[in-house]
């Protein structure tokens, strides 16, 4: 079979000739120009041979009127293969569809990533991109070249200084640089600086205005520290015995020592939670209020002490969000343990806690200088502390000067 070139393309049939002296029939075939090969005598009156498919008709003609019988055993070659494939139409259609799907999917935008700009601008850029037809799920046939998109974006989003558009396969990567628009501060109206809190002034740094107090002065809340009304020299209205003032926006920093009283409660036993490392996970699908467990299907084991983490994802099909959720519930086993604190430790903890609280309230410009425990009591396993804390901070508060009336 292999020795005959091109036989695969035209198709090969293996025939079996039965009768008295079967080789005589094959001889007759050969004489009629039929090519035969792989002739084997299987039995005294039986021969097998391979012939080309196109010669089968001729063989049938020769057989007619003769005493031989012919059986067709095997069929090889392209014509038979074609026939077989033709019978399996669903498979063929499936293959074609999968190719088509592959083609369609590889010509879709799958991802648009914008980097280098704040979220607000990112959303604006994405909105613009959507209007150009660049969004996950869009076909790439209709999308303009990255260069054109870049040009369009720079025109339509004025906040952008520069944007790089890069298309990699099915993803778009955009990298933007925001234009920094520095807004000019509005010129402040005339104002005083007054004390926001009572305290002792430590140092003063006046940028503008007339200082009314000096270092080490004790000021009460509401006292004017820096006046925005500056006396005009040499212009004295003699008739009304009034001075002309020039009004400015007083500006500066007045650092003063202030005091705070704080009360804290510190328990003598502290509770800690430690994770043992044992976890239990459960996944569910949620349709509205209906929740179906996926894994594990068995009843869930609860730990005696546990922390629960729950993640919920909503199904998202190209922006279409049906109310189907996938939830992963993770239970982490924990063991609580208690530690005893001595009175001294409890006081230290209390002080630290009070200082942190105060610092948070005053902001990071304030500086805590000293603290003093005024009073402490132990009751019901708790230490109650009264603290006195000294702070250095800016106490200046702006107060506009009323004009005209």
């Amino acid at each position: 079979m292999k020795s005959v070139k091109g036989s695969y393309l035209s198709g090969v049939v293996e025939i079996q000739v039965t009768g008295d002296h079967p080789e005589q029939f094959l001889q007759q075939c050969a004489r009629n120009g039929i090519m035969l090969w792989e002739i084997k005598k299987v039995h005294v009156n039986q021969c097998t041979a391979s012939v080309l498919l196109k010669d089968v008709k001729e063989i049938r003609k020769l057989r007619r009127g003769s005493k031989f019988k012919i059986h067709f055993l095997n069929k090889h070659g392209l014509p038979f293969f074609k026939k077989r494939v033709g019978r399996k139409k669903p498979l063929l259609i499936g293959l074609l569809l999968s190719l088509l799907l592959f083609f369609i999917l590889s010509n879709m935008v799958w991802q648009v990533t914008v980097t280098g700009v704040p979220e607000e601008l990112e959303n604006k850029i994405k909105e613009q991109l959507t209007s150009y037809g660049v969004y996950p799920g869009a076909f790439t046939f209709s999308i303009e070249s990255p260069n054109q998109i870049q040009q369009l974006l720079l025109e339509d989003v004025p906040e952008l200084l520069w944007i790089g558009v890069d298309k990699k396969g099915t993803s778009f990567y955009l990298e933007g640089v925001e234009k920094l628009i520095i807004e000019k501060e509005e010129p402040a109206g005339p104002r005083h600086l007054v004390a926001g809190k009572s305290g002792v002034i430590q140092y003063m740094y006046v940028k503008k205005g007339m200082p009314e107090v000096t270092v080490n002065d004790v000021v009460e809340k509401g006292d004017v520290l820096v006046s925005g009304a500056i006396e005009k020299l040499n212009i004295i209205d003699e008739e009304e015995d009034k001075q002309e003032f020039e009004l400015v926006a007083a500006d500066g920093e007045i650092i003063a020592t202030t005091w705070y009283k704080a009360e804290v409660n510190v328990p003598l036993t502290a509770e800690h939670v430690e994770l043992t490392g044992n976890t239990n996970e459960k996944y569910r699908i949620k349709f509205g209020s209906l929740s179906i467990p996926i894994w594990p299907l068995t009843r869930f084991e609860h730990f005696e002490h546990e922390l629960i983490e729950t993640d919920e994802y909503q199904l998202d099909i190209f922006g279409w969000r049906p109310p189907i959720y996938f939830t992963a519930e993770k239970r982490l086993e924990s063991t609580p343990w208690y530690s005893e604190r001595t009175r001294e430790e409890a006081i230290q903890t209390g002080i630290r806690q009070a200082k942190n609280d105060l610092q948070r309230r005053l902001g990071k410009d304030a500086e805590i200088i000293t603290e003093k425990v005024l009073h402490e009591t132990i009751r019901h396993g708790k230490v109650k502390l009264s603290l006195y804390i000294t702070v250095e901070e800016n106490i200046a508060v702006e107060q506009p000067i009323n004009q005209g009336d």
């Binding site: 020795s3 005959v4 002296h21 080789e23 005589q24 094959l26 001889q27 050969a30 004489r31 120009g33 090519m35 035969l36 090969w37 792989e38 002739i39 084997k40 005598k41 005294v44 021969c47 041979a49």
Partner: protein
């Protein structure tokens, strides 16, 4: 008449060095080792089995004996035989 014809052909073969198989219409047997035998110019297949192949020629028969014979290819006047060849015999036609 025919004898004269043959004499002339023999002369052609001897003096003009023309291939004898064509001129004398005799079979040409090409044998490779003892397993391939290529027979051209035969006049028909007489018998064929696993152990024997007998071919007609112009003046008799060629008998090939051996074992596990397979006819690798068969064309109107050519046969390629494969198998273990043991004997090749020329049998003159009994006139």
């Amino acid at each position: 008449m025919k004898k004269w014809h043959l004499k002339f052909r023999n002369l052609m073969v001897n003096y003009l060095a023309l291939p004898s198989d064509i001129l004398l219409e005799l079979p040409r047997l090409t044998i490779i080792g003892n397993f391939h035998l290529y027979i051209e110019n035969h006049k028909g297949l007489e018998t064929y089995s696993e152990t024997e192949l007998k071919l007609k020629t112009t003046n008799g028969y060629v008998q090939i004996l051996g074992t596990s014979f397979v006819l690798k290819q068969m064309l109107p006047e050519e046969i390629l035989l494969e198998g273990e060849i043991e004997e090749i015999k020329y049998i003159p036609s009994s006139l």
